[in-house]
């Protein structure tokens, strides 16, 4: 692995993507939503009979987390659509590969760069939400240590979403790739919600067409929904009812398949 060149392309990805106007628009939208949730929850707290106690304050914080996590996936898709596709569209792909870098090193640095941007966005959004929250609840901030533990699954979630989007973007136009990935993520999340934690006896009984599709998504693609739930459960402090090691093994294998497909697709791509 040529770490120096990976870093240079990683840096170039950051320089390339922070100019993404849609990213700025989305950030403004997130700020607006955080403020809106804050005002709404404060208004509910002022209703006679409902006081802003610790339960209410925690709910407010979880709504913030929910919004930020949802945007997180949305933003990962936006970044992923542009990440490699813009190099192909602008004719820069061939020029970068004319340096002594492998396709894998190129892909990894582009995807890590996009992941880093979305993760920074995530951290800034969380800090902003906490600041707004602390300000409006007179300093009563309820930060569970689980919040820090949830950073890792969130980082994995972003990386996986960006990788999957890059793969789809190689075959479709930017808009089509965005819509396709978005629908695919919804379907994956739905299949994960339905099948996670269930035994094989249940999974393979009463097979219908839709159940088979759901099972294929569940077994052959990274479980984005499960990782997302894992992150939320860690923050909320719920006990995880899944085998973490099994899930990570599955994630490793499916991500591996995604990267093999990505490399094959890039290999066949004429520059």
């Amino acid at each position: 692995m040529n770490l120096n060149k990976i870093y240079v392309i990683f840096e170039n990805t950051m320089a390339k993507e922070w100019r993404n106007k849609f990213l700025l628009f989305l950030f403004a939208l997130t700020v607006a939503l955080i403020l809106l949730v804050n005002v709404t929850m404060d208004w509910i707290g002022q209703v006679p009979g409902i006081s802003l106690d610790s339960t209410m304050a925690n709910k407010k914080l979880y709504i913030f987390y929910f919004i930020i996590n949802t945007w997180n996936i949305f933003l990962s898709i936006i970044m992923g659509v542009n990440c490699v596709k813009s190099d192909l569209n602008e004719g820069v792909f061939g020029q970068i590969l004319s340096f002594p870098v492998t396709r894998f090193e190129y892909l990894l640095s582009r995807i890590l760069g996009s992941t880093a941007i979305v993760f920074c966005y995530y951290l800034i959004s969380i800090l902003l939400a906490l600041s707004v929250f602390a300000f409006s609840s007179e300093g009563r901030v309820f930060i569970d240590p689980g919040f820090f533990a949830a950073l890792l699954p969130n980082l994995i979630l972003i990386f996986t979403s960006v990788s999957l989007t890059v793969l789809i973007s190689l075959f479709l136009t930017k808009i089509a790739a965005f819509i396709t990935t978005f629908i695919l993520v919804l379907l994956i999340s739905s299949s994960n919600a339905n099948f996670t934690g269930l035994g094989f006896d249940y999974l393979f009984s009463d097979l219908t067409f839709f159940k088979i599709i759901g099972l294929m998504l569940y077994f052959f693609l990274p479980r984005l929904g499960t990782i997302n739930s894992m992150a939320t459960d860690i923050i909320v402090g719920k006990t995880l009812n899944i085998s973490i090691w099994w899930e990570f093994l599955h994630l490793g294998l499916t991500i591996g398949v995604v990267y093999v497909c990505l490399l094959l697709a890039l290999r066949k791509r004429e520059t």
Binding site: N4, Q95, L97, R267, E270
Partner: protein
Amino acid sequence: MIIEAKNINKFYGACEALKNFSLSVPRGSSFALLGPNGAGKTTFVKALLDLTQISGGEIKINGISSLDSKSREGIGYLPEKFNFFDYYTVEGVLVFYGKMKGVGDLLSEQIKMALEKTGISDLRKRRVKTLSKGQMQRLGIASILMGDNDLLILDEPFTGLDPIGIKELKDVLRGLQNAGKTLFINSHILTEVEQMCDEMAIVNKGQLVVQGKITELVGESSLEDYFYQKIKS
């Protein structure tokens, strides 16, 4: 030999772009790959840099298979249409190229030298999107001057340049020749090639027609007449 290609085949669907194409480029030479449009010149350059998958055969650069990314160390590549992200400044592009080439402490000096040699010092802070076609081509040439490249692969380098630009490019290339660099020029502008190169190969319909020293092949005739005769026959 700095480049050795043996029995290269490349298909685009049913169309065979390169047919048992073999080529050897001596180290330190100025080598021209000539051929009419669609002959397979750019396909060969892309195969050299592993930018396109060949259907058969083997290419070695400095004795290393072109499929190994290490074979591209010490190569400067100027594509037919040099391009970069339009919000980058001219200096920013050269910084990127310099870093990718592993230029360390000498980065500022190399950028200054590359800008001066290509006559675009005054464009240093200009964004790529504001450059004309000729200025862009000069930036492309400046970019291949970054780092210590032994082999320079130039795909149609004279295209888009005005007579002044062509003269300046030839001066830059002569400087590189004198420094012992190998130049691999892919072109169909014969007059420039005749002045610049000592070795050549002619490719037509994906097949090697002839390869050797220009003076020996052309003899008393002009390169234009020789080329025309070879292609038509």
